[in-house]
Amino acid sequence: MTRHRGRGIASINYPIGMNLGGDPSQALVHSNPSGKFTVALSSIDLGQGMKSVTRQICAETLGVPVEDVYVDTADSDTGPHCMGSFASRGTHRVGNAVMAAAREARGVMMEAAAEELEVNAADLETDGRGNIHVKGAPHRSISTKDVAIAAQFKQGKTISGRGIFLVPLSAVDPETGEMSPATCYAHACLVAEVDVDDETGEVAMVRMDSAYELGRALNPRLVEQQLVGGAWMGVSHALYETPEPYYPEPVHGPRDFVEYLMPGPGDICPHDIAVLERPAPDGPFGAKGPGEMCANPVLPAVANAIFNAVGVRIDDLPITPEKVLRAIKAQGGARPQARH
């Protein structure tokens, strides 16, 4: 038995969102009786952090502390329309909608503050700590809470805003088939190192090194969490899991976690990640979003690393020990390739 070390690389160009139906998402922002704000969405946070990121986007746009913003989400009974949490669209699409809604709400808030301070709204600014004051004269100030109270009891206004993200539907060119399904692209490159056992066909992850370009990282810790975890979903797709192991024959489909395999804590390896920030011109504060891209480059990089280790090219996922072993047998043994 020999274990062969191999290294593989993959680079990807990843579209944020998609073209279907204009890819719309909507957001509503309003002030509460307490002078704090609620963002109403029907978009879903699956744990990827959209609730935190939309909260930050709203607070930053309104000019209020992040503690003063609540995000009420994942309820299509109370939230406005959203296409959903998929296609890596959450931060970009929903974030843009929240930004537009918060901008409109900010306009009303500043008008209401101007009325109270008896100045022109254009002369006002927010301090990000819950106050609005006259530019250059911070003592002429009113808290956002007092503005909300004035709007409710004196001015008869709702401090609220509506936001929508919608792109024009891109038609397919009948001649060339060309279309533009996405408005911006993120990028990644990942190097995977594996050990392949030529007797059992088992593939063990040794290390990963990656670089991700995902626009501005609005919440760097959440981005890191996505990239660290998502890479293991990629490994899982590459090496372990499938609902249809003998596609198209469905009867062998896994029924539980003993048959539907995923990596366990003992299977992980070091992963060094570099995040490059190139703000997207059409993203909320320049964000694109990590999304599905955190899993995608892993699959081809692992397949390439296996080729590098033992010289077999497996283009059918997941790359199970059985497939590796059959391929090694078919070529008459492992043929390690040159390592660079």
Partner: protein, 158 residues
């Protein structure tokens, strides 16, 4: 089928319920006691999200017959925080971004507690071993391992 009377301690409190023969502990906790912190992931021992401590020892509540815990002491995630304060392990999970969807988290925390209760300064390999019966779809385990090591080392925020 006649019901079986059952008494045990649940997070330090005596409870008494009637269960059908064959009821598993997970169902008893969730449906009869109303403690929703142990989760149902697979119901057959494959995922670990239903983990609880029985007399301080880690068990899969989906594979434990409720009747077998008569007179014993069950700890679940529900009993972990002390009043308004998070347990140091919970704090460490939050600090280290060790939960995303959170579905594995109750089981991970109970497995971690079982480890630290008997081995307060485990090695990284011992941590991995301790959570090896628990599947996490989201985090890639690294943040969970780091959180448990941080809690063991007292490196948690106030």
């Amino acid at each position: 089928m006649s019901k079986i009377p059952l008494q045990f301690r649940h997070n330090g409190r005596d409870v008494a319920i009637f269960v059908d023969g064959g009821t598993n502990l997970l169902a008893a906790l969730r449906e009869l006691i109303g403690d929703m912190t142990p989760k149902f992931g697979c119901g057959q021992g494959g995922c670990g999200t239903c983990s609880v401590l029985i007399d301080g020892e880690l068990h899969l509540s989906c594979l434990t017959l409720a009747e077998t815990v008569a007179g014993r002491s069950i700890e679940t995630l529900d009993g972990m925080k002390q009043g308004p304060n998070l347990h140091p392990l919970q704090r460490a999970f939050a600090d280290n971004f060790a939960a995303q969807c959170g579905y594995c988290t109750p089981g991970m925390l109970m497995a971690a507690k079982a480890l630290l209760d008997r081995n307060p300064s485990p090695s990284r390999d011992e941590v991995i071993e301790a959570i090896s019966g628990n599947i996490c779809r989201c985090t890639g385990y690294e943040p969970i391992i780091n959180a448990i090591l941080a809690a063991a080392g007292g490196r948690v925020s106030a």
